[in-house]
Amino acid sequence: MQTKDIDENIAWAKINADVLRSMENPRMGYWIAVVCCLAMVSCAVVAEIYQYQTGLGPANLTWSQMWGLYIATFVFWIGMSHSGTLLSAILHIIHADWRKPIYRFAEAMTTFSLMTAGLFPIIHLGRVWNMYWVLPYVSDRGIWPNFRSPLSWDAFAITTYLTSSAMFLFIGMIPDLAICRDNARGWRQKLYTVLSLGWQGDDRQWRNFRRIYLLMACFLIPLAVSVHSIVSADFAMSIMPGWHVTTFPPYFVAGALYSGCAAIITLFIILRYFFRFEEYMTIPILEKTCKLTFAIAMVWTYLNLIEFAATWYGHDMVAKELLYWKFTGPYAPYFWMMLFLGSVMPFTLAVEKLRRHLPTMFVVSLFLNLGMWLERWMIVGPTLSQNYEPFAWSIVWPSMVQWAIVFGSFGWFGLLFLVFVKVFPSVSMYEVKEMVFHRRTAHRPDLAVSLHRRAEDPQPGSTPSTKGV
């Protein structure tokens, strides 16, 4: 049974060769996945064209049910984006080096999830040509957007998050892009030459690289928390029953981390298979990711219970009625399914035998994400169906147009991700080399001492020699 996160005897040259090879010959499954994603995107494009030409009627969006699946899925994709931040920034700061073989694709997930999420408010508008009104831009009548509205906060927060996470992804890739540049031919070499920005691996570059990576990680963690808190403010700042809840920001952040971690498990298993990354995406690393997911699932469950308790013991009768209605009304099957998938299913992650079984974990991770998607729908749907105004009470199920666009968004995300992992290294070569190097020297303290503490070596903190002596 494999117990080490990585075989520390892997040669550095082999790491380069394996990762570079992955960008050339993936398994056939990769191409099948690309075709499936293209088909899904096509469904969404057709549905969007139909909706664009006809108006929002075919989407079953009405005055009271104005958000529907679009905003629920928007929240889902924003949540998914937290995986990269968690895995890359938080684990980087706490020196959890097992993240190194898998953080690159998690960061890519962050960027592509945000790019997918950003489409939904635009699609939901109907009048897509007016989407720029939400940007901090003065109109021709001298009117600015309402900065008191959480919807304009969203525009700021998501723009900042997308910019920062894309920068974080790109900066972290520069040393690897230089490796690609040194080994590629043709158009790839030209691309990597431009993108590697002249990286040469000298001590000045590494020193500054480490500094920027740490600083950006420090920025990204509060940013990620603020982004999903702001998304929760879209709901919590209103006075609607079920939404006006104090615990919404932490609840949203926990849900975001949860769905992000579950998606990491899914993509971990897919990439491991497609690119034959068995030596890098190892079972012990998967186990650690599963344990992390389980811990976050329990936090999410706790926050759910807190929300129920706060509503149940509160004085808002309509909110209490809504909570009761969620458990027993027309949304009950989905609500119970959400609770089962989100709170009970994660216990499979606590069983070692199941955790080490890839097909089981693949299915479980998909179900966890289904649960997280249902969570977002159960936030949006029931409150809009039954709130303070009885004339607005209605159950409106999403139309095929909504379902097609939501379905297509998964294809869009998948397509972006698959193109990324084919063109760019999905395993960080230099970080894996560092991981191997550190573990090798950690297991041989005599070597570590001889490496850094030779008798003739200067002592730490001693004054460097001066030029021209």
């Binding site: 900065f147 490796i179 570059q205 850094h452 020699s465």
Partner: protein, 175 residues
């Protein structure tokens, strides 16, 4: 005056660091550790103990960017909201602090990040032409020590490299 560039490629950090230690101990008079550029596939965690603390100005860029973002964000929002003076406010504040704090916070981070990236591009001296002695082996698995030397020091340095089992020596002369 001609300047000589010599780069030695080593198979591991141990030999490379031993070479630098000798340079630091003045094994070759006229060559100091300040002349050394170390090229490696990873950053060795204790490199600063070998080369000395060479510092990085990036945090200053970060601080400047964050402060600028905070000031710009708040003033931008406040000046935009000031145009609301011509509109009825219904008793609400023209410049609402709670919501502006949220947006100011976002802009603090945005400009902090952008400024940090600019700081990195400048301080790491990216966008420069690759050194003629750059070797692809440095991005693979070898450690390079690059020195800029006077002619008289070239041979002693080569001998020092040889003593530490250098794998390959590359040279370049510039006018």
């Amino acid at each position: 005056m001609k300047r000589y560039y010599v780069m030695g490629l080593f198979s591991n950090f141990e030999e490379a660091f031993a070479t630098i230690a000798e340079i630091r101990n003045h094994a070759v008079p006229g060559v100091s550790v300040d002349d050394v550029t170390l090229k490696s596939p990873i950053e060795h965690p204790e490199i600063e103990e070998v080369l000395g603390d060479r510092g990085s100005p990036i945090p200053k860029f970060t601080l400047f960017g964050a402060i600028f973002g905070m000031c710009f964000g708040f003033l931008f929002l406040a000046s935009a909201q000031a145009t609301f003076l011509v509109q009825p406010q219904g008793g609400k504040a023209v410049i609402p602090l709670p919501s502006n704090i949220v947006l100011t916070y976002e802009l603090l981070i945005l400009f902090g990040v952008l400024s940090t990236v600019i700081g990195f591009l400048i301080s790491a001296r990216l966008f420069t032409r690759r050194h003629p002695l750059y070797s692809e082996k440095v991005s693979l698995d070898q450690i390079g020590i690059l020195l800029e030397l006077d002619e008289k020091n070239v041979n002693p340095i080569k001998e020092l490299f040889g003593k530490h089992k250098v794998l390959e020596i590359r040279e370049e002369v510039s006018q």
